[in-house]
Point group: C2
DNA sequence: AGCGTCCCTGACAGTTTATGTCAGTAAGCG
DNA sequence: CGCTTACTGACATAAACTGTCAGGGACGCT
Protein backbone atom coordinates (compact mmCIF):
# COMPACT_ATOMS: atom_id res chain seq x y z
CA UNK A 1 0.00 0.00 0.00
CA UNK A 2 1.27 3.42 -0.92
CA UNK A 3 1.74 5.83 1.89
CA UNK A 4 -0.42 8.49 0.22
CA UNK A 5 -3.26 6.01 0.06
CA UNK A 6 -2.85 5.12 3.69
CA UNK A 7 -2.93 8.80 4.68
CA UNK A 8 -6.17 9.14 2.74
CA UNK A 9 -7.66 6.09 4.43
CA UNK A 10 -6.59 7.43 7.80
CA UNK A 11 -8.41 10.69 7.15
CA UNK A 12 -11.49 8.77 6.04
CA UNK A 13 -11.41 6.61 9.17
CA UNK A 14 -11.28 9.66 11.40
CA UNK A 15 -13.94 11.43 9.35
CA UNK A 16 -16.44 8.58 9.69
CA UNK A 17 -16.09 8.37 13.47
CA UNK A 18 -17.78 10.67 15.88
CA UNK A 19 -15.85 9.25 18.87
CA UNK A 20 -12.10 9.05 19.30
CA UNK A 21 -9.76 6.54 17.69
CA UNK A 22 -6.52 5.37 19.35
CA UNK A 23 -3.26 4.88 17.49
CA UNK A 24 -3.49 1.18 18.33
CA UNK A 25 -6.94 0.85 16.73
CA UNK A 26 -5.75 2.64 13.61
CA UNK A 27 -2.56 0.57 13.36
CA UNK A 28 -4.59 -2.64 13.57
CA UNK A 29 -7.03 -1.42 10.95
CA UNK A 30 -4.34 -0.31 8.50
CA UNK A 31 -1.85 -3.10 9.38
CA UNK A 32 1.08 -0.86 10.25
CA UNK A 33 2.94 -0.15 13.48
CA UNK A 34 1.76 2.44 15.98
CA UNK A 35 4.97 4.37 15.38
CA UNK A 36 3.96 4.70 11.73
CA UNK A 37 0.52 5.98 12.78
CA UNK A 38 2.18 8.65 14.92
CA UNK A 39 4.31 9.65 11.94
CA UNK A 40 1.28 9.70 9.67
CA UNK A 41 -0.65 11.86 12.11
CA UNK A 42 2.26 14.29 12.19
CA UNK A 43 2.43 14.42 8.39
CA UNK A 44 -1.29 15.08 8.11
CA UNK A 45 -1.12 17.77 10.79
CA UNK A 46 1.80 19.46 9.00
CA UNK A 47 -0.31 19.38 5.84
CA UNK A 48 -3.07 21.26 7.59
CA UNK A 49 -5.47 18.45 8.49
CA UNK A 50 -6.81 19.46 11.93
CA UNK A 51 -6.38 16.30 13.98
CA UNK A 52 -6.74 16.70 17.72
CA UNK A 53 -4.92 14.23 20.00
CA UNK A 54 -5.24 13.83 23.74
CA UNK A 55 -3.03 11.57 25.90
CA UNK A 56 -4.96 8.75 27.53
CA UNK A 57 -7.93 9.42 25.25
CA UNK A 58 -7.17 9.22 21.50
CA UNK A 59 -7.59 11.18 18.29
CA UNK A 60 -10.47 13.01 16.70
CA UNK A 61 -10.83 15.10 13.58
CA UNK A 62 -11.68 18.71 14.20
CA UNK A 63 -15.37 19.37 13.68
CA UNK A 64 -14.80 21.78 10.81
CA UNK A 65 -13.00 19.16 8.74
CA UNK A 66 -15.67 16.53 8.81
CA UNK A 67 -16.79 17.12 5.24
CA UNK A 68 -14.52 15.80 2.52
CA UNK A 69 -13.57 17.68 -0.66
CA UNK A 70 -16.25 18.01 -3.29
CA UNK A 71 -15.67 17.80 -7.02
CA UNK A 72 -18.02 19.76 -9.27
CA UNK A 73 -17.90 20.29 -13.01
CA UNK A 74 -18.34 23.67 -14.60
CA UNK A 75 -22.10 23.56 -15.02
CA UNK A 76 -22.62 22.41 -11.45
CA UNK A 77 -20.37 25.20 -10.20
CA UNK A 78 -22.40 27.73 -12.17
CA UNK A 79 -25.61 26.41 -10.63
CA UNK A 80 -24.06 26.58 -7.16
CA UNK A 81 -22.80 30.13 -7.74
CA UNK A 82 -26.20 31.27 -8.91
CA UNK A 83 -27.87 29.54 -5.96
CA UNK A 84 -25.44 31.04 -3.47
CA UNK A 85 -26.18 34.47 -4.94
CA UNK A 86 -29.86 33.82 -4.39
CA UNK A 87 -29.25 32.85 -0.77
CA UNK A 88 -27.04 35.89 -0.34
CA UNK A 89 -29.82 38.15 -1.62
CA UNK A 90 -32.92 36.45 -0.29
CA UNK A 91 -31.76 34.86 2.92
CA UNK A 92 -31.14 36.42 6.33
CA UNK A 93 -27.84 37.99 7.35
CA UNK A 94 -26.29 34.78 8.67
CA UNK A 95 -27.24 32.82 5.58
CA UNK A 96 -25.81 35.56 3.39
CA UNK A 97 -22.50 35.50 5.21
CA UNK A 98 -22.09 31.78 4.73
CA UNK A 99 -23.24 31.95 1.12
CA UNK A 100 -20.71 34.69 0.39
CA UNK A 101 -17.96 32.67 2.02
CA UNK A 102 -18.85 29.75 -0.22
CA UNK A 103 -18.88 32.06 -3.23
CA UNK A 104 -15.39 33.29 -2.41
CA UNK A 105 -14.12 29.75 -2.09
CA UNK A 106 -15.58 28.82 -5.45
CA UNK A 107 -14.22 31.95 -7.13
CA UNK A 108 -10.78 31.32 -5.68
CA UNK A 109 -10.42 28.08 -7.62
CA UNK A 110 -11.80 29.27 -10.91
CA UNK A 111 -9.17 29.76 -13.60
CA UNK A 112 -8.31 33.40 -14.20
CA UNK A 113 -10.16 33.64 -17.47
CA UNK A 114 -13.39 32.63 -15.72
CA UNK A 115 -13.02 34.44 -12.45
CA UNK A 116 -12.91 38.11 -13.22
CA UNK A 117 -15.50 38.39 -15.88
CA UNK A 118 -19.11 38.87 -14.93
CA UNK A 119 -19.81 37.82 -18.47
CA UNK A 120 -18.51 34.36 -17.69
CA UNK A 121 -21.63 33.82 -15.64
CA UNK A 122 -24.29 36.19 -16.94
CA UNK A 123 -26.90 35.02 -14.41
CA UNK A 124 -27.19 37.54 -11.65
CA UNK A 125 -29.20 38.20 -8.55
CA UNK A 126 -29.69 41.79 -7.43
CA UNK A 127 -28.58 42.75 -3.97
CA UNK A 128 -31.88 42.89 -2.10
CA UNK A 129 -30.26 43.34 1.27
CA UNK A 130 -32.37 46.25 2.51
CA UNK A 131 -35.63 44.83 1.20
CA UNK A 132 -34.87 41.39 2.48
CA UNK A 133 -34.28 42.54 6.02
CA UNK A 134 -38.03 43.02 6.09
CA UNK A 135 -38.89 39.62 4.67
CA UNK A 136 -36.38 37.79 6.87
CA UNK A 137 -37.05 39.62 10.10
CA UNK A 138 -36.87 37.15 13.00
CA UNK A 139 -35.34 34.53 10.66
CA UNK A 140 -32.22 34.01 12.73
CA UNK A 141 -33.75 33.47 16.16
CA UNK A 142 -36.39 31.31 14.50
CA UNK A 143 -33.78 29.10 12.79
CA UNK A 144 -32.00 28.75 16.10
CA UNK A 145 -35.27 27.73 17.77
CA UNK A 146 -35.91 25.18 14.99
CA UNK A 147 -32.44 23.74 15.41
CA UNK A 148 -32.61 23.57 19.20
CA UNK A 149 -36.27 22.54 19.18
CA UNK A 150 -37.44 25.33 21.41
CA UNK A 151 -40.97 26.65 21.62
CA UNK A 152 -41.41 30.26 20.63
CA UNK A 153 -44.05 32.80 21.53
CA UNK A 154 -45.09 34.99 18.62
CA UNK A 155 -47.35 37.91 17.88
CA UNK A 156 -48.80 37.52 14.41
CA UNK A 157 -50.86 39.70 12.08
CA UNK A 158 -52.83 38.11 9.29
CA UNK A 159 -53.39 39.57 5.84
CA UNK A 160 -56.79 40.79 7.04
CA UNK A 161 -55.08 42.63 9.93
CA UNK A 162 -56.26 40.24 12.63
CA UNK A 163 -53.73 39.99 15.43
CA UNK A 164 -53.06 36.89 17.48
CA UNK A 165 -50.56 35.66 20.04
CA UNK A 166 -49.61 32.07 20.62
CA UNK A 167 -46.86 29.64 21.45
CA UNK A 168 -45.73 27.35 18.64
CA UNK A 169 -43.19 24.65 17.90
CA UNK A 170 -41.24 25.76 14.82
CA UNK A 171 -40.30 22.91 12.44
CA UNK A 172 -38.96 24.50 9.28
CA UNK A 173 -39.07 27.34 6.80
CA UNK A 174 -40.04 27.41 3.13
CA UNK A 175 -38.89 29.99 0.57
CA UNK A 176 -41.57 30.98 -1.93
CA UNK A 177 -39.57 33.56 -3.81
CA UNK A 178 -39.14 36.77 -1.73
CA UNK A 179 -41.40 35.39 1.01
CA UNK A 180 -40.48 32.90 3.70
CA UNK A 181 -43.10 30.73 5.39
CA UNK A 182 -42.64 29.15 8.78
CA UNK A 183 -44.04 25.66 9.31
CA UNK A 184 -44.95 25.07 12.93
CA UNK A 185 -47.05 22.93 15.20
CA UNK A 186 -49.68 25.11 16.79
CA UNK A 187 -51.03 23.98 20.17
CA UNK A 188 -53.95 26.41 19.91
CA UNK A 189 -55.22 24.48 16.90
CA UNK A 190 -53.53 21.15 17.69
CA UNK A 191 -52.39 21.00 14.10
CA UNK A 192 -49.76 22.29 11.68
CA UNK A 193 -49.96 25.93 10.75
CA UNK A 194 -47.87 28.12 8.54
CA UNK A 195 -46.92 31.70 9.18
CA UNK A 196 -45.49 34.30 6.86
CA UNK A 197 -42.21 35.29 8.45
CA UNK A 198 -42.66 38.98 7.60
CA UNK A 199 -46.04 39.02 9.34
CA UNK A 200 -44.59 37.90 12.66
CA UNK A 201 -44.55 41.02 14.80
CA UNK A 202 -42.43 39.71 17.62
CA UNK A 203 -40.81 36.51 18.76
CA UNK A 204 -39.65 35.27 22.14
CA UNK A 205 -37.70 32.05 22.23
CA UNK A 206 -38.77 30.20 25.39
CA UNK A 207 -36.82 27.74 27.49
CA UNK A 208 -39.35 25.00 26.79
CA UNK A 209 -38.05 22.22 24.57
CA UNK A 210 -40.29 20.23 22.29
CA UNK A 211 -39.99 16.81 20.68
CA UNK A 212 -40.85 15.75 17.21
CA UNK A 213 -42.45 12.43 16.34
CA UNK A 214 -43.64 10.50 13.31
CA UNK A 215 -46.87 12.47 13.41
CA UNK A 216 -45.39 15.84 14.31
CA UNK A 217 -42.41 16.73 12.18
CA UNK A 218 -41.45 18.70 9.09
CA UNK A 219 -41.23 15.43 7.20
CA UNK A 220 -44.77 14.51 8.20
CA UNK A 221 -46.02 17.95 7.23
CA UNK A 222 -44.44 17.64 3.78
CA UNK A 223 -45.98 14.20 3.40
CA UNK A 224 -49.43 15.59 4.21
CA UNK A 225 -48.91 18.43 1.73
CA UNK A 226 -47.99 15.98 -0.99
CA UNK A 227 -51.10 13.94 -0.31
CA UNK A 228 -53.24 17.04 -0.25
CA UNK A 229 -51.73 18.24 -3.50
CA UNK A 230 -52.39 14.88 -5.14
CA UNK A 231 -56.07 15.06 -4.15
CA UNK A 232 -56.57 18.74 -4.92
CA UNK A 233 -54.07 19.82 -7.57
CA UNK A 234 -55.41 23.40 -7.43
CA UNK A 235 -54.66 23.78 -3.76
CA UNK A 236 -51.31 25.42 -3.24
CA UNK A 237 -51.64 27.37 -0.02
CA UNK A 238 -51.54 25.50 3.28
CA UNK A 239 -53.48 26.66 6.33
CA UNK A 240 -52.33 30.06 7.41
CA UNK A 241 -53.34 31.28 10.86
CA UNK B 1 10.71 18.09 -2.65
CA UNK B 2 8.35 15.37 -1.58
CA UNK B 3 6.86 13.32 -4.33
CA UNK B 4 3.33 14.00 -3.17
CA UNK B 5 4.00 17.68 -3.44
CA UNK B 6 5.36 17.30 -6.93
CA UNK B 7 2.27 15.32 -8.00
CA UNK B 8 0.15 18.16 -6.67
CA UNK B 9 2.20 20.75 -8.56
CA UNK B 10 1.97 18.67 -11.71
CA UNK B 11 -1.81 18.61 -11.45
CA UNK B 12 -1.85 22.36 -10.87
CA UNK B 13 0.38 22.96 -13.89
CA UNK B 14 -1.94 20.97 -16.12
CA UNK B 15 -5.00 22.59 -14.62
CA UNK B 16 -3.79 26.13 -15.32
CA UNK B 17 -3.00 25.43 -18.96
CA UNK B 18 -5.54 25.37 -21.72
CA UNK B 19 -3.04 24.02 -24.26
CA UNK B 20 -0.95 20.86 -24.00
CA UNK B 21 2.21 20.39 -21.96
CA UNK B 22 5.00 18.00 -23.01
CA UNK B 23 6.86 15.76 -20.61
CA UNK B 24 10.01 17.75 -21.40
CA UNK B 25 8.39 21.04 -20.41
CA UNK B 26 7.13 19.58 -17.18
CA UNK B 27 10.48 18.00 -16.34
CA UNK B 28 12.23 21.34 -16.84
CA UNK B 29 9.67 23.13 -14.74
CA UNK B 30 9.81 20.66 -11.87
CA UNK B 31 13.54 19.88 -12.24
CA UNK B 32 13.20 16.13 -12.59
CA UNK B 33 13.86 13.73 -15.43
CA UNK B 34 11.33 13.00 -18.15
CA UNK B 35 11.20 9.40 -16.99
CA UNK B 36 10.03 10.64 -13.62
CA UNK B 37 7.31 12.70 -15.30
CA UNK B 38 6.08 9.62 -17.15
CA UNK B 39 5.99 7.76 -13.83
CA UNK B 40 4.15 10.60 -12.16
CA UNK B 41 1.59 10.76 -14.95
CA UNK B 42 0.99 7.03 -14.57
CA UNK B 43 0.56 7.36 -10.81
CA UNK B 44 -1.92 10.20 -11.21
CA UNK B 45 -3.85 8.28 -13.87
CA UNK B 46 -4.03 5.22 -11.63
CA UNK B 47 -5.36 7.47 -8.89
CA UNK B 48 -8.17 8.57 -11.17
CA UNK B 49 -6.88 11.93 -12.43
CA UNK B 50 -8.05 12.03 -16.07
CA UNK B 51 -4.91 13.04 -17.95
CA UNK B 52 -5.01 12.61 -21.71
CA UNK B 53 -1.74 12.02 -23.56
CA UNK B 54 -1.16 12.02 -27.32
CA UNK B 55 2.07 10.97 -29.02
CA UNK B 56 3.75 13.83 -30.83
CA UNK B 57 1.46 16.32 -29.11
CA UNK B 58 1.60 16.28 -25.30
CA UNK B 59 -0.65 16.07 -22.27
CA UNK B 60 -3.82 17.79 -21.26
CA UNK B 61 -6.16 17.47 -18.33
CA UNK B 62 -9.62 16.25 -19.20
CA UNK B 63 -12.04 19.14 -19.39
CA UNK B 64 -14.21 17.82 -16.57
CA UNK B 65 -11.31 17.86 -14.13
CA UNK B 66 -10.28 21.47 -14.56
CA UNK B 67 -11.80 22.52 -11.26
CA UNK B 68 -10.01 21.35 -8.14
CA UNK B 69 -11.73 19.94 -5.05
CA UNK B 70 -13.56 22.40 -2.87
CA UNK B 71 -13.66 22.31 0.90
CA UNK B 72 -16.73 23.73 2.60
CA UNK B 73 -17.72 23.72 6.24
CA UNK B 74 -21.15 22.76 7.42
CA UNK B 75 -22.73 26.18 7.31
CA UNK B 76 -21.41 26.84 3.83
CA UNK B 77 -22.73 23.48 2.66
CA UNK B 78 -26.15 24.33 4.07
CA UNK B 79 -26.13 27.64 2.22
CA UNK B 80 -25.11 25.88 -1.01
CA UNK B 81 -27.82 23.22 -0.57
CA UNK B 82 -30.47 25.85 -0.03
CA UNK B 83 -29.23 27.84 -3.01
CA UNK B 84 -29.16 24.78 -5.25
CA UNK B 85 -32.75 24.05 -4.22
CA UNK B 86 -33.66 27.58 -5.25
CA UNK B 87 -32.02 27.13 -8.63
CA UNK B 88 -33.72 23.77 -9.01
CA UNK B 89 -37.10 25.37 -8.36
CA UNK B 90 -36.74 28.77 -9.99
CA UNK B 91 -34.35 28.13 -12.82
CA UNK B 92 -34.98 26.58 -16.20
CA UNK B 93 -34.81 22.85 -16.89
CA UNK B 94 -31.11 22.78 -17.67
CA UNK B 95 -30.19 24.77 -14.59
CA UNK B 96 -32.35 22.49 -12.47
CA UNK B 97 -30.60 19.40 -13.79
CA UNK B 98 -27.18 20.74 -12.89
CA UNK B 99 -28.35 22.00 -9.52
CA UNK B 100 -29.82 18.59 -8.69
CA UNK B 101 -26.59 16.91 -9.71
CA UNK B 102 -24.69 19.19 -7.37
CA UNK B 103 -27.22 18.47 -4.61
CA UNK B 104 -26.68 14.74 -5.03
CA UNK B 105 -22.91 15.16 -4.83
CA UNK B 106 -23.21 17.18 -1.65
CA UNK B 107 -25.65 14.74 -0.10
CA UNK B 108 -23.38 11.81 -0.97
CA UNK B 109 -20.64 13.12 1.30
CA UNK B 110 -22.79 14.11 4.22
CA UNK B 111 -22.48 11.74 7.19
CA UNK B 112 -25.44 9.41 7.54
CA UNK B 113 -26.92 11.20 10.49
CA UNK B 114 -27.17 14.40 8.42
CA UNK B 115 -28.14 13.02 5.07
CA UNK B 116 -31.49 11.38 5.46
CA UNK B 117 -33.22 13.79 7.69
CA UNK B 118 -35.08 16.74 6.23
CA UNK B 119 -34.96 18.11 9.73
CA UNK B 120 -31.20 18.43 9.49
CA UNK B 121 -31.76 21.26 7.04
CA UNK B 122 -35.19 22.69 7.73
CA UNK B 123 -34.90 25.31 4.96
CA UNK B 124 -36.88 24.21 1.96
CA UNK B 125 -37.89 25.42 -1.44
CA UNK B 126 -41.13 24.17 -2.95
CA UNK B 127 -41.03 22.41 -6.26
CA UNK B 128 -42.30 25.12 -8.61
CA UNK B 129 -41.53 23.16 -11.74
CA UNK B 130 -44.85 23.65 -13.51
CA UNK B 131 -45.17 27.31 -12.58
CA UNK B 132 -41.57 28.04 -13.42
CA UNK B 133 -41.86 26.69 -16.93
CA UNK B 134 -43.90 29.83 -17.58
CA UNK B 135 -41.42 32.22 -16.00
CA UNK B 136 -38.40 30.60 -17.65
CA UNK B 137 -39.86 30.09 -21.08
CA UNK B 138 -37.15 30.76 -23.67
CA UNK B 139 -34.50 30.77 -20.95
CA UNK B 140 -32.38 28.05 -22.47
CA UNK B 141 -32.08 29.36 -26.03
CA UNK B 142 -31.50 32.79 -24.56
CA UNK B 143 -28.68 31.61 -22.33
CA UNK B 144 -27.12 29.88 -25.29
CA UNK B 145 -27.36 33.09 -27.32
CA UNK B 146 -25.76 35.04 -24.45
CA UNK B 147 -22.92 32.56 -24.24
CA UNK B 148 -22.30 32.45 -27.99
CA UNK B 149 -22.97 36.18 -28.39
CA UNK B 150 -25.63 35.79 -31.00
CA UNK B 151 -28.28 38.34 -31.83
CA UNK B 152 -31.85 37.21 -31.25
CA UNK B 153 -35.11 38.35 -32.78
CA UNK B 154 -37.94 38.58 -30.23
CA UNK B 155 -41.61 39.35 -30.09
CA UNK B 156 -42.36 41.13 -26.83
CA UNK B 157 -45.53 42.20 -25.03
CA UNK B 158 -45.34 44.92 -22.41
CA UNK B 159 -47.40 45.09 -19.23
CA UNK B 160 -49.76 47.46 -21.02
CA UNK B 161 -50.25 44.85 -23.78
CA UNK B 162 -48.24 46.74 -26.41
CA UNK B 163 -46.53 44.33 -28.78
CA UNK B 164 -43.19 44.93 -30.42
CA UNK B 165 -40.67 43.02 -32.46
CA UNK B 166 -36.99 43.70 -32.56
CA UNK B 167 -33.51 42.26 -32.79
CA UNK B 168 -31.38 42.53 -29.66
CA UNK B 169 -28.00 41.53 -28.31
CA UNK B 170 -28.59 39.56 -25.08
CA UNK B 171 -25.99 40.20 -22.37
CA UNK B 172 -27.29 38.59 -19.20
CA UNK B 173 -30.23 37.66 -17.03
CA UNK B 174 -31.23 38.81 -13.56
CA UNK B 175 -33.40 36.88 -11.10
CA UNK B 176 -35.80 39.05 -9.13
CA UNK B 177 -37.53 36.28 -7.20
CA UNK B 178 -39.88 34.28 -9.47
CA UNK B 179 -39.24 36.66 -12.38
CA UNK B 180 -36.23 36.71 -14.68
CA UNK B 181 -35.17 39.87 -16.51
CA UNK B 182 -33.08 39.85 -19.64
CA UNK B 183 -30.48 42.59 -20.07
CA UNK B 184 -29.82 43.35 -23.70
CA UNK B 185 -28.49 45.97 -26.05
CA UNK B 186 -31.35 47.22 -28.20
CA UNK B 187 -30.43 48.61 -31.61
CA UNK B 188 -33.89 50.18 -32.02
CA UNK B 189 -33.14 52.43 -29.03
CA UNK B 190 -29.33 52.31 -29.30
CA UNK B 191 -29.23 51.69 -25.56
CA UNK B 192 -29.60 48.97 -22.91
CA UNK B 193 -33.07 47.65 -22.36
CA UNK B 194 -34.46 45.01 -20.07
CA UNK B 195 -37.15 42.50 -20.89
CA UNK B 196 -39.19 40.28 -18.62
CA UNK B 197 -38.42 36.79 -19.80
CA UNK B 198 -42.02 35.63 -19.38
CA UNK B 199 -43.26 38.45 -21.59
CA UNK B 200 -41.17 37.36 -24.53
CA UNK B 201 -43.62 35.76 -26.92
CA UNK B 202 -41.13 34.20 -29.28
CA UNK B 203 -37.43 34.07 -29.90
CA UNK B 204 -35.35 33.29 -32.96
CA UNK B 205 -31.60 32.97 -32.47
CA UNK B 206 -29.97 34.45 -35.56
CA UNK B 207 -26.64 33.62 -37.15
CA UNK B 208 -25.39 37.16 -36.57
CA UNK B 209 -22.68 37.42 -33.92
CA UNK B 210 -22.19 40.51 -31.83
CA UNK B 211 -19.24 41.91 -29.90
CA UNK B 212 -19.15 43.46 -26.49
CA UNK B 213 -17.00 46.42 -25.57
CA UNK B 214 -16.24 48.62 -22.59
CA UNK B 215 -19.37 50.60 -23.33
CA UNK B 216 -21.61 47.71 -24.30
CA UNK B 217 -21.43 44.85 -21.85
CA UNK B 218 -23.21 43.40 -18.84
CA UNK B 219 -20.46 44.81 -16.66
CA UNK B 220 -21.01 48.29 -18.07
CA UNK B 221 -24.76 47.96 -17.61
CA UNK B 222 -24.30 47.01 -13.96
CA UNK B 223 -21.94 49.94 -13.49
CA UNK B 224 -24.57 52.31 -14.90
CA UNK B 225 -27.21 50.81 -12.62
CA UNK B 226 -25.03 51.31 -9.60
CA UNK B 227 -24.43 54.94 -10.52
CA UNK B 228 -28.12 55.47 -11.16
CA UNK B 229 -28.99 53.89 -7.83
CA UNK B 230 -26.51 56.12 -6.03
CA UNK B 231 -28.09 59.23 -7.56
CA UNK B 232 -31.72 58.10 -7.19
CA UNK B 233 -31.99 55.63 -4.32
CA UNK B 234 -35.74 55.21 -4.95
CA UNK B 235 -35.23 54.06 -8.51
CA UNK B 236 -35.12 50.29 -8.70
CA UNK B 237 -36.57 49.43 -12.08
CA UNK B 238 -34.43 49.90 -15.17
CA UNK B 239 -35.90 50.84 -18.54
CA UNK B 240 -38.25 48.19 -19.76
CA UNK B 241 -39.30 48.20 -23.38
C1' DA C 1 8.73 6.39 -47.73
C1' DG C 2 11.83 8.94 -44.20
C1' DC C 3 12.23 12.21 -40.49
C1' DG C 4 11.33 14.71 -36.27
C1' DT C 5 8.75 15.03 -32.18
C1' DC C 6 6.44 13.19 -28.93
C1' DC C 7 4.33 9.33 -25.64
C1' DC C 8 5.51 5.04 -23.47
C1' DT C 9 7.88 1.18 -20.90
C1' DG C 10 11.50 -2.02 -18.86
C1' DA C 11 15.95 -2.69 -16.66
C1' DC C 12 19.42 -1.47 -13.47
C1' DA C 13 22.56 0.84 -10.16
C1' DG C 14 22.52 4.27 -6.91
C1' DT C 15 20.02 7.36 -3.74
C1' DT C 16 16.46 8.55 -0.71
C1' DT C 17 12.64 7.66 2.18
C1' DA C 18 9.84 4.87 5.14
C1' DT C 19 9.23 1.25 8.57
C1' DG C 20 9.33 -1.46 12.89
C1' DT C 21 11.51 -2.15 17.22
C1' DC C 22 13.06 -0.29 21.37
C1' DA C 23 13.50 3.05 24.93
C1' DG C 24 12.04 6.91 27.24
C1' DT C 25 8.85 11.13 28.57
C1' DA C 26 4.38 13.16 29.50
C1' DA C 27 -0.79 13.55 30.02
C1' DG C 28 -5.64 11.91 31.15
C1' DC C 29 -8.67 9.05 33.86
C1' DG C 30 -10.59 6.25 37.64
C1' DC D 1 -1.38 5.60 42.48
C1' DG D 2 -1.63 2.34 38.17
C1' DC D 3 -3.15 1.87 33.65
C1' DT D 4 -3.74 3.61 29.15
C1' DT D 5 -2.75 6.63 25.96
C1' DA D 6 -0.05 10.32 23.07
C1' DC D 7 4.57 11.52 21.77
C1' DT D 8 9.54 11.45 20.16
C1' DG D 9 14.45 9.95 19.00
C1' DA D 10 17.66 6.43 17.45
C1' DC D 11 18.97 2.79 14.46
C1' DA D 12 19.10 -1.18 11.25
C1' DT D 13 16.56 -2.86 7.61
C1' DA D 14 13.30 -2.65 3.85
C1' DA D 15 11.04 -0.29 0.37
C1' DA D 16 10.44 3.23 -2.85
C1' DC D 17 12.22 6.54 -5.94
C1' DT D 18 15.40 8.50 -9.42
C1' DG D 19 18.16 9.10 -13.64
C1' DT D 20 20.31 6.87 -17.45
C1' DC D 21 19.93 3.98 -21.26
C1' DA D 22 17.64 1.35 -24.68
C1' DG D 23 13.88 0.27 -27.40
C1' DG D 24 8.96 0.49 -29.37
C1' DG D 25 5.05 3.06 -31.24
C1' DA D 26 1.96 7.12 -32.85
C1' DC D 27 1.35 11.35 -35.32
C1' DG D 28 2.17 14.99 -38.67
C1' DC D 29 4.86 16.82 -42.34
C1' DT D 30 7.61 16.74 -46.57
Amino acid sequence: MHRAERLFQLTTLLRNRRTVLTAKQMSEHLRVSERTIYRDIQSLSLSGVPIEGEAGVGYRLSHRYQLPPLMFDREEVEALLLGARMVSSWGDTDMAIHANQAIQKILSVLPDHLRHSDESLPLLVPNMEEVQKYYTAHSQPMREAIRLRQRVAIDYVRADEQHSSRTIEPLGMIFWGKVWTLVAWCHLRDDYRTFRLDRIQSIVVTDEKFDTSDSKSLKHFLHLMKEKYAQEPEATAPHEC
